[in-house]
Symmetry: C2
Subunit: 230 residues, 2 copies
DNA sequence: CGAATGCTTGACGGTACTCAAAGATTGTGG
DNA sequence: CCACAATCTTTGAGTACCGTCAAGCATTCG
């Protein structure tokens, strides 16, 4: 797939030896518990998932969404338990790695170590953008930005068919990602739909006016370099 | 300093060969331009700085604050220019590294590569927390959280003297970090001051009721492990 | 068919934003 | 040393965006 960097046979072997198995999680299931440090790192192979944190009174903030190819769990490496949860939105397939072998991987395969750093840096950029959204955009801009963002990322990994993407989120997910209430999220999304900017049907999303949404969200994705795949 | 991991002589030498020089930036000066990819990575040696992004109409979001020991610029590694700015709040001293030598560093010094990944993961955790603040906390909680957060981090690197920390930010900085307006930030801060939770005098901050602020912000920092220093 | 989940809408209230202007503080030049 | 500008802080008044509460509607599932 063109979104990912090519891998040599030797690297592939190193990745294989680093992995400890495949895991399946059904829709709505917990991939990483919010309050327990995970002994594993994951790469998402198939499905949609998200990272989140909850305040003690239950308010939840979704930190980011995960698509196939995304690497999760590095943030916990030094967190001593104070970390974030990961939950599957659809049925998901993951590749698991032993956290304790991470250092060995860096030693024996510096290239893969470098790639992991790359992925970590990219992740942080996503959170940076998300923070701008939550901090400085209004409701309409937030929705526009999120729709374009998810669409573009899905497109990149080949999840768009005839202009439609699987969109398995409910409005509570969107609200928790954007820092809005459920009701206000609903009203904002309805408004943008009535304006004809996008369409949502049976869990599938179609962007009707990409330029309008990009302008509204002040969010223009540039073509991205291929990403390493661990 | 106990906040940092010890370094071997050999590692120190590797770090030295990686660095390309020291840079001084005066208060208010630009460390990294928001719209130009920086050819350098930095470690902040002295002073306060912050990372930020601005929307096209001028709204600014501060992504995080930088204290001595913090490493900046990794996010740009693969960003193709779509990045964030870094600005000095006080006079600042930085150690510069050539970005192009990063890969060589990973090859020859896997330990330092691993440490850089550590720092990147830690950075992302900070942004995650910040995102929860902007997305799900109200004004009082945001201010409480930020004050405790900055105080604890400063304390960790020995910047607290007799309970006072240098606090060189103006209210616009705070507002842009928290995603609030200047006026509302002012009113909220005044309110917490009148409640006797903290004191601010001549650019120095003193936390009077740490427990109350932690509870209000629902933010409890655990003791952190020592951090690598590049 | 009833329960559960999610979407939609209206009404109302409050938090936070904007506008405006008056202090306070600092720095600069005559 | 004072006048004046510039910057930052503080406060008040009015408004709007967004949150909460409540209830109706649609869809799915057992």
């Amino acid at each position: 797939m063109e979104a990912f960097l090519p891998v040599t046979a030797q690297q592939l072997q190193a990745i294989q030896s680093f992995r400890t198995g495949t895991r399946r999680v059904e829709a709505g299931g917990t991939i990483v518990d919010e309050h327990r440090a995970s002994p594993q790192l994951f790469t998402l192979y198939a499905g949609w998932a998200f990272r989140y944190k909850t305040l003690s009174d239950g308010r939840r903030q979704i930190l980011g969404f995960l698509l196939p190819g995304d690497f999760v769990g590095l943030q916990d490496e030094f967190a001593d338990g104070q970390t974030h949860g990961v939950e599957a939105v659809t049925d998901a397939t993951l590749c698991a790695f032993a956290r304790e072998r991470l250092w060995a991987l860096f030693q024996t395969q510096p290239r893969l170590g470098y790639d992991i750093t790359w992925l970590a840096a990219r992740e942080e950029k996503l959170v940076d953008d998300h923070l701008v959204t939550a901090g400085r955009r209004n409701a309409g801009e937030r929705v526009a930005m999120l729709l374009m963002h998810l669409y573009r990322r899905a497109q990149r990994v080949g999840m768009v068919r005839d202009g439609w993407v699987e969109f398995p989120f409910n409005q509570q997910h969107i609200a928790d990602a954007l820092g809005l209430s459920l009701v206000h999220t609903n009203k904002t999304m309805r408004r943008l739909q009535r304006l004809g900017l996008y369409k949502l049907d049976g869990g599938w999303l179609r962007i009707l006016e990409p330029h309008a949404l990009e302008t509204l969200g002040d969010y223009f994705e540039r073509p991205l370099r291929p990403v390493p795949m661990i």
